[in-house]
C-alpha cells in the first residue's frame, strides 16, 4: 500500500517490516514481515520470549535501528523524521540518568538540547517531576535515589518534549515486584489521564494485561507477530482488577498465544 492509506493518522504503522542483522551467511533475521498498526491513544504491549525482536521493533520505531525492508511510519513520518521532530519519548531498561546532573537538570536536559530557555524548561521539569511524584527530589542527584525513583525520573525526562508517543523498553524489569506494581499503576494513570500513545516492551503477562489496550504476542526466530489481542477490560483499571475473572481469562489467552507461537518457532 502507499502512504496515502487511511491508516496515515495512526501512531505507528508497520507493513512487511523485516530487520536483518549482519550480512551474507552470518545474517540473522531479527524481525520478519511485521504488519502492525498502533492507533493514537492506544497502549500496546509487545510481549514474547527473549530474542523475539520486541526490543528491535521498539528501536526501529525510535530510529535507533534501520529496517532492512518494508515500511515503517511514526505519526505519518519516517522514523528518522519523527526522531528529528522529537515526536516520541523513550524509556530505557535502565534509568540512564547522568550522575553529574541533579534530578531536575536530568529532566531538563532534552529541552536544553532542543534550545528551550532556562526558566521555561525549569517550569516544564517541575511539572513532569510532579507527574511522577518526585517534585521534592528535584535537587537530589540520581545516585541518591532508589532504583524505582530513578526510573520514575527517566519517565519524567521522556515526557519532556510533550511527546504524543511514549516508547518503553522493559522499564520496570530490574525492579522488585512491589515497586513494580506501584509504577505500573502510576504509568497507567499517567496514560489514562493524558491521551498518550504507549508502546511497552515486557516479559510479564500480568504487566502487559494490566497496562494495555492491545497486546502484541511475538514468537522467536525469526521474530513474528503471532497475534494481536485486543483487551476487553475497561479503560481505567485498579491493581485489584488483576484478580477478576476477565483479567485472568485475558492472561490465559495471552499465555496460550505465547506457547502457540513458541510451538511454531
Amino acid at each position: 500500500m502507499d502512504a496515502s492509506n487511511p491508516l496515515a493518522g495512526a501512531a505507528v504503522v508497520a507493513e512487511n517490516l523485516s530487520i536483518r542483522f549482519g550480512t551474507g551467511d552470518a545474517a540473522t533475521l531479527a524481525l520478519s514481515d511485521i504488519d502492525l498498526t498502533i492507533g493514537q491513544g492506544d497502549f500496546v504491549s509487545l510481549i514474547g520470549p527473549s530474542g523475539c525482536g520486541k526490543t528491535t521493533l521498539l528501536r526501529a520505531i525510535a530510529d535507533l535501528v534501520q529496517p532492512s525492508s518494508g515500511l515503517l511510519r511514526v505519526n505519518g513520518m519516517t522514523p528518522e523524521a519523527a526522531r528529528l521532530a522529537r515526536a516520541y519519548g523513550y524509556v530505557f531498561q535502565a534509568p540512564a540518568l547522568l550522575p553529574w546532573r541533579s534530578v531536575a537538570r536530568n529532566v531538563t536536559l532534552p529541552l536544553e538540547i532542543a534550545g528551550m530557555g532556562r526558566a521555561e524548561r525549569q517550569a516544564e521539569a517541575e511539572r513532569n517531576l510532579a507527574l511522577v511524584g518526585l517534585a521534592d527530589f528535584a535537587r537530589k542527584f540520581p545516585w541518591q535515589l532508589s532504583g524505582g525513583m530513578q526510573q520514575r525520573v527517566s519517565i519524567a525526562r521522556a515526557l519532556s518534549f510533550k511527546p504524543s508517543l511514549l516508547l518503553m523498553d522493559e522499564p520496570f524489569g530490574a525492579l522488585d515486584e512491589i515497586t513494580r506494581d506501584g509504577l505500573n499503576l502510576h504509568l497507567h494513570e499517567l496514560w489514562a489521564s493524558s491521551g498518550l500513545t504507549g508502546v511497552f516492551v515486557t516479559h510479564s503477562i500480568p504487566e502487559a494485561v494490566f497496562l494495555s489496550t492491545h497486546i502484541v504476542v511475538m514468537s522467536l526466530r525469526p521474530g513474528r507477530v503471532v497475534e494481536v489481542i485486543e483487551s476487553a477490560l475497561p479503560r481505567l483499571r485498579r491493581l485489584e482488577d488483576r484478580e477478576t475473572p476477565e483479567f485472568l481469562a485475558l492472561s490465559h489467552r495471552v499465555r496460550a498465544a505465547l506457547y502457540d507461537g513458541h510451538g511454531h518457532g
Binding site: 526522531r83 540512564a96 547522568l98 532542543a114
Partner: protein, 318 residues
C-alpha cells in the same frame, strides 16, 4: 567500637616504632662513643613523646589521626637520617644531614626563588598549559576526523617514544637558552598522555547513553558537551596529574643542556660540580614540594569537578 580499636592499635604501632627508632639510634651513638651530640638525642626523645601524645589525643578525630601518622613518621625519618649521617660520619658529599639542607634553604632563599620562577613559573607552567591544551584539542580533532586519526596516532606514538635527553639539546637549538626551549620539551612530554587519556575518556560512554542522546536528536557538539566530556573528566584528570610530574622532570632535565644562570636544573648541575651538595638537596626539596603541591591542587579540583564519580562520592558520603 571498631574504630577506637583500630585507633588504639595504630597509636600502639606508632609508639613501638618511635621506641625502636630511639633505641637503635641511641645504641649506635653509644657504640661510636660519641656523646657530644647528647642534645640531639634529647630533642629526638622529646619530639617522639610529643607526637605520640598528640596522636593519642587526636584518636577520636579521624582527620587529625589521619594527619598525625604520616607527620610523625616523616619527622621520625628525618631525625633518623640526621642521627645516622652525623653518628656514622657519612661524608657531606654523599649525604648531607637534613639540618644542613634546611640551613641551605634558609641561606639561599632569594636564589632558590629565582630558580623556581625560571623553571616552574615560566617553563613548567607554560609548557604544561600548552602541552595539556594541545593534547586535548588533538584528541577532539582525532575524534572528529578518521583521517586525522590514521595520520596523527602513529605520529603521537613516535613523539611519546622520543628520549627527552635527545630532544632537549635540539629544543635549545630551536628555541634558544631561555625558558621557551624548556617549555617546548615539557610540551612534547605532556601532549601524548593527555591525547591518549582524553581519547579513552571520550570513548567510555555506554551504548544506552549514546542512544539517549540520539533520541533527543542531539548533534555532535551537544553530545560532546552534555555527555562525552563529563564522562571523560576522570580520565582527563588522570592525565593532568601524571603530566604535572612529567612537566617538572622535563623542565629540570632540559636545563642541563644550556640555560641562563638560573633555574632548578641549572642549579643542580652546577652546584653538584662545585660539591655544594646542600644546595643540590635544597633544590630537590623545592622540586619535591612543588610536585606534591601541584598534585594536591589538581586532586582538589578533580574532587570538585568529578564529585559525581563513584570513587569520590563514596568517600564524600562516609
Amino acid at each position: 567500637m571498631n574504630g577506637s580499636a583500630t585507633g588504639e592499635s595504630r597509636a600502639g604501632a606508632q609508639w613501638m616504632m618511635a621506641a625502636a627508632g630511639l633505641l637503635f639510634c641511641t645504641l649506635s651513638r653509644i657504640s661510636l662513643r660519641n656523646f657530644g651530640n647528647l642534645p640531639w638525642i634529647t630533642a629526638g626523645v622529646a619530639l617522639v613523646l610529643v607526637l605520640a601524645g598528640l596522636s593519642l589525643f587526636a584518636r577520636g578525630n579521624d582527620r587529625a589521626d589521619g594527619m598525625a601518622s604520616p607527620v610523625l613518621f616523616g619527622l621520625l625519618m628525618l631525625w633518623l637520617w640526621e642521627m645516622l649521617v652525623v653518628g656514622l660520619h657519612v661524608p657531606f658529599v654523599i649525604l648531607p644531614p637534613p639540618s644542613a639542607i634546611a640551613l641551605a634553604i634558609g641561606h639561599h632563599l632569594p636564589m632558590l626563588w629565582a630558580d623556581f620562577v625560571q623553571t616552574v613559573l615560566h617553563a613548567v607552567l607554560a609548557g604544561y598549559a600548552m602541552g595539556c591544551g594541545s593534547g586535548f584539542l588533538l584528541a577532539l580533532a582525532i575524534d572528529r576526523s578518521p583521517f586525522l586519526q590514521r595520520g596523527l596516532t602513529p605520529l603521537g606514538n613516535l613523539i611519546s617514544a622520543l628520549p627527552i635527553i635527545g630532544i632537549a639539546p635540539i629544543m635549545v637549538m630551536w628555541f634558544g637558552f631561555g625558558w621557551q626551549s624548556k617549555a617546548a620539551v615539557v610540551v612534547l612530554m605532556t601532549v601524548f598522555p593527555m591525547l591518549v587519556n582524553t581519547r579513552a575518556g571520550l570513548a567510555s560512554t555506554d551504548a544506552m547513553e549514546r542512544d539517549l542522546m540520539q533520541t533527543y536528536a542531539a548533534g555532535y557538539w551537544q553530545t560532546l558537551r552534555h555527555l562525552r566530556l563529563p564522562v571523560a573528566m576522570p580520565m582527563i584528570f588522570n592525565a593532568l596529574k601524571l603530566n604535572a610530574t612529567l612537566a617538572l622532570i622535563g623542565a629540570v632535565v632540559a636545563e642541563f643542556f644550556g640555560t641562563p644562570t638560573r633555574g632548578m636544573g641549572f642549579r643542580i648541575s652546577t652546584e653538584a660540580a662545585r660539591m655544594n651538595l646542600d644546595i643540590v638537596w635544597a633544590t630537590i626539596v623545592v622540586a619535591a614540594v612543588t610536585g606534591c603541591a601541584a598534585f594536591v591542587l589538581i586532586a582538589a579540583i578533580e574532587r570538585v569537578v568529578t564529585f559525581w564519580h563513584p570513587s569520590i562520592r563514596g568517600a564524600r558520603r562516609s
